[in-house]
Point group: D2
Chain length 341, copies 4
C-alpha cells in the first residue's frame, strides 16, 4: 500500500497477551498514522477488552484478520508456534506483517516462510527484534559497517535480568534470551554462525530449580569471529545488556549505564541505579520498530530498512537449534544453514 500521511494504516493484531497488548497500546497512543482496526486472541475476553481500548473490532479467527479488507497490515504477537503459519498467510494475502520473534519454532518452518516470501515476488515480512532499533545498537552497527574498529575479531555480549519466571529452563535461555544476541550478532556482523558451544559455570543458588544460570554460549562465525554471550537471568539486580566489540583497530562498548550519579551520605558511596526490567531499556526501540514499520508500509516498501527479515529469522532459528543441541554436548556443535532461496 502507498498512502499519504493523513490516512491511517489499519493494523490487525493477532494475539493480545502482554506483548500484543503493549503493541496495541503503542499503536493507539503513540504511533502516528496507524490505528488498530482488528484484534484476535484465542481468549475472547482478552480480545474484547483490548479491542475496546483501541476502538477496534474483535475478529472470530486470525485467518479472518489476515484477509479482512479492514486490515492493511498485520502484527503477530501470538504464541511462537503459530508464527510461521500466520506469517505465510499474510504473505499469501499480500499484507505486510510484523511478526514478533521467533519467526518459527524450528529452522524448517522458518525456511518455509522465506520460500513463501520468495515465491510471492515481494517483501512482506518484518521480524520483531527491537534491539536493531536501539540508538546504541545502531551506532555500533554503523561503526562496524564503516570499519571504525578495523576487522571485527570478538564480540562480548552480556544479557542479565533480575529474575526469571520460576518455570524458566535451559532451553528457554536459548530461545527467549540468547535469541536476542543471536539476532544482534547477525545484525552487527552480516555473516553466519558456523558453530556453537555452551559452557556451564556453577549456578547461582537463586536460580530456579534445574536452570543453568549463568550460562555462556560461544559462537564462531564464517570468518572466524568469536561471539561470547554470557546469559545470567537471576542476578537479583537489574537488567543489563552490554556488547563490547573488539576489532583490529579498536574496541567499542555499548550498554554502559552511567547516567545520573549520586553520592549519598551514610557510607560515602556514589552510584546510580539499574532498571530491573527490560522494557524501560528498550521502550524507545519498540516504538521506533513499529513507527518505522508503519512508515515503510505507508510508502510501499513494506519492510523497514533496519528490520530483521524472514531470512534473519531463519538464520536465528538455525543457530538456536544448534545452541540448544550444544546445551548437552561437549565442544562445538555445527550450525546447519541452507542456501538462501
Amino acid at each position: 500500500m502507498t498512502t499519504d500521511k493523513f490516512t491511517d494504516v489499519r493494523v490487525g493484531v493477532i494475539g493480545v497477551g502482554v506483548m500484543g497488548h503493549d503493541h496495541v497500546t503503542r499503536i493507539t497512543e503513540r504511533i502516528k498514522g496507524a490505528r488498530v482496526t482488528a484484534v484476535y486472541d484465542f481468549m475472547a475476553d482478552t480480545a474484547e477488552k483490548v479491542a475496546a481500548e483501541a476502538g477496534a473490532e474483535v475478529f472470530p479467527s486470525w485467518e479472518e484478520v489476515v484477509v479482512s479488507d479492514q486490515v492493511d497490515a498485520v502484527l503477530i504477537a501470538s504464541p511462537g508456534k503459530f508464527h510461521a503459519e500466520q506469517t505465510i498467510a499474510c504473505i499469501e494475502a499480500g499484507k505486510p506483517v510484523l511478526c514478533e520473534k521467533p519467526l518459527a519454532m524450528n529452522p524448517d518452518d522458518a525456511y518455509r516462510v522465506v520460500e513463501a516470501e520468495k515465491a510471492s515476488g515481494s517483501r512482506y515480512v518484518s521480524l520483531g527484534f527491537m534491539r536493531r532499533f536501539d540508538r546504541e545498537y545502531a551506532e555500533l552497527h554503523d561503526a562496524l559497517r564503516n570499519r571504525e574498529l578495523g576487522d571485527l575479531l570478538v564480540l562480548n555480549m552480556k544479557h542479565r535480568n533480575a529474575d526469571p519466571h520460576p518455570s524458566f529452563t535451559d532451553s528457554m535461555m536459548v530461545y527467549d534470551s540468547a535469541v536476542h544476541e543471536i539476532d544482534a550478532l547477525h545484525y552487527f556482523l552480516d555473516e553466519k554462525v558456523v558453530e556453537v558451544q555452551s559452557i556451564m559455570p556453577r549456578s547461582t543458588r537463586n536460580a530456579p530449580q534445574g536452570l543453568h544460570d549463568p550460562m555462556i554460549l560461544l559462537f564462531r562465525t564464517e570468518s572466524g569471529i568469536i561471539v561470547t554471550d554470557e546469559l545470567y537471568v537471576t542476578t537479583k539486580g537489574g537488567y543489563e545488556v552490554r556488547t563490547e566489540a573488539v576489532g583490529s583497530e579498536g574496541t567499542s562498548t555499548i550498554g554502559m549505564e552511567i547516567g545520573r550519579v549520586t553520592t549519598q551520605k551514610h557510607d560515602g558511596s556514589w552510584g546510580g541505579s539499574v532498571h530491573p526490567d527490560f522494557r524501560p531499556r528498550f521502550l524507545d526501540a519498540y516504538d521506533a520498530e513499529v513507527r518505522e514499520w508503519i512508515a515503510a508500509v505507508k510508502n510501499g516498501r513494506n519492510v523497514a530498512e533496519r528490520s530483521a527479515t524472514a531470512w534473519d529469522g531463519y538464520l536465528t532459528a538455525a543457530t538456536c537449534e544448534a545452541a540448544e543441541k550444544a546445551l548437552s554436548a561437549d565442544g562445538f556443535v555445527p550450525v546447519t544453514v541452507r542456501d538462501h532461496p
Copy 2:
C-alpha cells in the same frame, strides 16, 4: 475540551519558522491524537509550504487561527514579542495554548498573561520549557521533592554550545540561554530568586565580537540556595547541559554523557562524542512536552502537570530582567516579583 482518544485535537500553529516548523512536523508525524489544521506565519510562502506538509489550512491572520472553530488548541512559535498578546487572545477565546518561551519580553507583559488567565477562572497556558520533560530532569526533580539529598544548598548548572549565531549578544545569553536554567531552577526548587549577579571571565577568542563568553550568573533564592550558571556558547565542542545538585545529605549530577566508549588505535585514547546540537539532546523532551500537552487538552485539564505555567513564565521574565541588569552591575541585583494574583 474532553475527547475520546480516537478524535484528534485540532491544533492551530502561529509562527512556522524553524521551531514552529519542527512542532508542525512533530504533531503531524509523531504526536498521536492531534493534527495541525491551521497555520499562520507572517511569511506567506513559509506558511503555505508548512501547511501543505501538514495538510492544514493557511490562515490570513493569527487572530483568525485563535478563534477558528477548526482549532481546538493553539501552539505559538512566533517571535517572542508577540507571545503575550497572542496568549491572552487564546485565553479569551477559551483555547488551551502551548506558547514557546519566553512568555513575554518583560515582566509586566508576562504578568498581564497571568492576570488574564486568573480572570478567566480556568487554566489555559503551557509554556514551552522542554527540559521539564527530559527524563533526567524529571528524576532529579523527583529526588529533590522526595528530599533524597536533604536540604538543597547549591545548584551548579552548565550550559555549553558549540557555536552561537555571529550576532549573539550578552543580552541573548540571558534571554535565549540562561532562560532555560532560570526555568529549570524554578522547576527544581519551587521557590523564587531574590537576586542575581554576573561574573565575566576572560572571553574565548572564538566568541563573536563583543560577546562575554563564558559568563557566570549567580542566583540566590528565598531560602538562600545559590544557583551557579556557567554559560559558554562558543566551546567549539558540543552541546553539554549539566546540573549538579548539592544537598545536606548528598549530591546528584545529571547530564554526564558517558555512553558509548571507544578505544582507538593511533594514540591509545578512549572516549566518545558529544552532540554539537541541542536538538538530539532534548528531542525526546520536546516530543513528551507536546504529547503530554495534547493528552491534557484531551482530558480537559488543558495543561500538562509537568509543564511550566504562566506564573513560571512571569517568574522567569522577572528573573531575566534582573539578570540583564546584572550584566552591567557590580554585585547582586535584586529581582522584583509581584504577588501571585
Copy 3:
C-alpha cells in the same frame, strides 16, 4: 649539600603532631636516602615517643635542630605561627627546608621569608602543598602549559570533606581548606589573583554552629580567568577534590573517582565508594613531595622542581588575606601583592 645516593640526608623535624609524625614515619619507612636524626616538639613526651620510633635524638629547642651539624635539612610541621621565623632561621643556617603550609600567618611575614631567601643568594625553601605532586594535578598542569585547552578561561574547583572538627570556622575554611585551591590555581595558572569574592549559600544543618558551609569563593586573575571554589566540609559523605579547567579549545576534569564499579542485589543499584578521609587521596602525593625534596637536597638543588616556593607561599598568604576580608564584604575585594624582590 651534594651527596651520593648511598649517604642519607639527615633530616631534623620541628613539630611532630599528627602531620609531623606522619612525615617522620614516611621518612623512616618509605623515603630512601633520608633519615630523621633530630626531633623537636614543645610537647617533650611526644618528641620522645616519635624520636624513638625514628631512632632520632630529641633536641631541647627548634633553634638547635636548625643549626645542628647532625642535620642536613629541616622539615617544619610546627603550628603555623612559627613557620616564618623557623624558615628564616633555616635560610640563615644555609639548610634546605620543607615547611608545611602556610608559610606564614600573614603576607608581611611571608614576604620577609621571600626577602631572606633572596638576600641569601640561594634557594632553600620548599612549601608543603602536596597536590602539586599528585599525578592528576601534574597531568592537568602539563596540559595547561602545553595549551592543550587553548586559553584557560575558567577553573571550577570543589573541595568536599565528610566532617570538619567541631571548632571549624569560616576563617579556617579559607586558611585550612581554600588555601589548597589557592596554591593549586597558582600552580596551574602561573599568574596572580587580583580580587576575591565570597558567596554564602544557605548552610547545611549538619555544619558546626556558626560555620558557613558550603561556601563559594570566586577569584579573578590578572588575565581575567575566573576560579570558582566550592568548599563544603560537612558533606557527611566523603572526600572529593575536583577541578574542571575550561579553555577556549576544550575542557578537562580531574578528580572524578570512577574506579571500581559494583552492582548490588537488593535495589538494582550500581556504584562505588568515596574515601571519607583526604589522606588516602593524597598519600602518594605526600610521599612524592618528600621524595623529590630529598632528591633535590641530595643533588644540591635544595628545592624540587614541582614544589611550591617561598614566593608561592607569599602569593597564597596575600590571597588568603583578601579572601578572609571577602568573607564579610560585599562584592570583590582586591588582593594586594608586592613586587617580587
Copy 4:
C-alpha cells in the same frame, strides 16, 4: 633474620636484565630498609654497570651470591629456566627469596621447590606476581573473601597490550601473559583449576606472523567457577587489564580507567588516554611487592602475607602446562595437580 628498622636488609640480585635492573633501581632508590649488596649476571658488563649504580659488588656466580654472608635475602630475575634451581639453593642456604615469575618451566620442577621448602621446615619463597599488590586487586580480593558478591560464579578477565615483541608466540601468550590471570584467579578464588580450553578467534592482521591474537582461554575450577581470559596483545591501543567478578549477589569490575576526562574542540569528542605500557599501571604494585617483602624479611616472617607462594607457583605451572596443551586441543584439557606435600 629479624632486624630493627634502621638496619638495611642486604639483597643479592641474580639477573639484572630489564626486570632485574628495575628491581635494583627500585631497592636503591625507593625501598627503605634495604640495599643491594651483591649482583650477578651472566653478562659481566651488565652486572658491572648495574652494580655500580647500586654501590654493590659483582659476584662471579649466582651460587656465591646465595651463600654470601653479605647477603641476607635474594631476588631472582634470571631467565625462567634457572628459577627453580636457584630458588632451591636459597632455601638450602636459609635465605628468603623473591623469585620473579615463573617459579619453574614445568610443574615437576616447581613441585621440587615446594618439596624443598617443605623439607626445610620454614617458609622462604615469595613469587613475583605483582598484581596481588595492586590496590584494586586487593579490594576485589577482600570483597570476594567477605562474600560481598555472594558465591562467585564467573570471572571475566581481559589482558590487552599495545604491541608484542615480533617473536611472540602462542606459547608465550600462555607463559608470559595468561600466567598473570592464572595467578590472579588463584589469588581471588583460593581454589584450583581443573580444566582449560582455548578458543581461537580470527586473528588481527597486526599480529606477528603465526600468533593467534586475540585468544580466549577458559578455566573451570573445582567448584565450577568459569574464568574467561581474553588475551589480545596487538591492540595497537594501550595496556588494559580488567576483571569483572560475577557473583550470586552482585558483580564488581576493576580496571576501568575513567580518570581524567577531556572534551576537545575539533570533533566534539570527549575522553582520555590509556597507557601503552604495563609498567605505569603496576608501578605501585611492584613497589609494594618489594616493600612488603623487605618488611617481612625484617620481621622474620620471610614472606609477605599477600605474596604468591611456592605452592601458588606450582599451581600456576600446572595450569599453564594444561593451557599450553589446550592451544592445540579441542575442548577442555584437564589440569593435573599433585597433593600439597
